[in-house]
Symmetry: C2
DNA sequence: CTGTCAATGACGCATTTGTGTCATTTTTAC
DNA sequence: GTAAAAATGACACAAATGCGTCATTGACAG
């Protein structure tokens, strides 16, 4: 038996969800709230799972996540949303939600998702998953070939990013410091930079490391 | 009608999938291959969707993605995998797959996922979605206060990350180069680093910029 | 009102860095 | 088998950097 609570300001959707849960084998809806503030104040802690609307009057669902998690660290939180806006998703992820469902998700799917979440998964509708992947790729570009660095140059670039000085690099690779400086010179030319800090920034930003 | 092809080296799983597809309303399995190499060579381009195993002999499914995408840019690729290893998922995402399903996913779920994928979503099983979220959070840390840098120090740190030299910074901020060096000195102390490159790496990795 | 801290500025000095020019030996590619 | 690219190494020099020490001013907290 999975105990669930709901925070959702629209009466019809709230009632619909709680009825769905109570009517379904293995689920009980033990509490419902119409605002994040109410939920934070009156959540009993008896539920294993919380369905949390994002668009709430006053405090948003996203702002509520860290506060609720602080009070009940083990509680799983699944966000409900009508909009799959990039920023919203991003914020929800970073705030620590455990799943993200669009409100139009069919009931059977919702129930399946709740079970998955209890079992440690992060259910999300495919369209939201798509957004997450796109965000991910945006933040981790991962170019490699474009600057045509050689193996050795990439190796040295990595050591630069680790913060090693030329002399440390030369000792680590058992080569002369002059050689290290030569490699670095070539790295600069290829990345079109003129200092270590510029090189490491570019290396990180372009995903060369 | 959704046309699907399959690349999967295990005969039983391959046959099972193709039978499932052909037996299901709205799906046709138009081709199957036992290796990535075969798929790349002989895919007709008539399919809208490809089910691609990750663990294949010789060339892995992940290596195959960019090659296949290059030949058929519009083709949707869903990865099939038994293991939800972090690195594998990461690589698959960055290689540009459109969905990620565990092989143990129930048939009904698989068919639903294929439809979702065709409609532009990125279906993934909740346990994989969980991994993706964790990876995401790992790569976007988002700290700020922890090093208690002053406003001015943050300002200068940003300019360092932009690759400016001390002189350029002093000119930009209308202060003496000595002052700039002083600020940088304090930044180093707070970040516990000893060079510009170390500072900018830390600034980026810790999300200070 | 006094002490702490941020921001500003300075001098000095050993080291490191960025860059120019050159040379030898392996690897790789055609 | 030869030409190009990569990896190794060197010398030199101006500029930048990292760090030690010190001083003045303004803001803010107790």
């Amino acid at each position: 038996m999975i105990n669930v609570s709901i925070i959702e300001d629209h009466q019809d959707f709230r009632k619909g969800l709680s009825s769905l849960l109570d009517a379904s084998e293995g689920f009980t809806c033990i509490d419902t709230f119409i605002s994040a503030e109410d939920g934070i104040k009156y959540l009993s802690g008896d539920e294993e799972l919380l369905l949390l609307d994002i668009n709430l009057p006053n405090m948003s669902g996203i702002e509520a996540i860290p506060l609720i998690k602080k009070k009940f660290p083990g509680l799983k939180i699944i966000m409900l949303t009508i909009l799959d806006d990039d920023n919203t998703i991003m914020e929800a992820i970073l705030s620590g939600a455990d799943g993200y469902l669009l409100k139009k998700t069919p009931p059977i799917q919702i129930l399946a998702s709740l079970k998955e979440c209890i079992n440690g998964g992060s259910p999300m509708t495919p369209s939201i998953a798509k957004k997450v992947l796109m965000l991910f790729k945006k933040y981790i570009p991962k170019n490699n070939e474009s600057f045509s660095l050689t193996k050795r140059e990439i190796e040295i670039l990595n050591l630069l990013v680790e913060g090693l000085s030329n002399i440390s690099i030369s000792k680590k690779l058992f080569i002369s410091i002059q050689t290290v400086r030569n490699h670095i010179r070539h790295i600069y030319e290829k990345l079109q930079v003129h200092s270590k800090s510029q090189a490491v920034v570019k290396a990180i930003r372009e995903g060369l490391v």
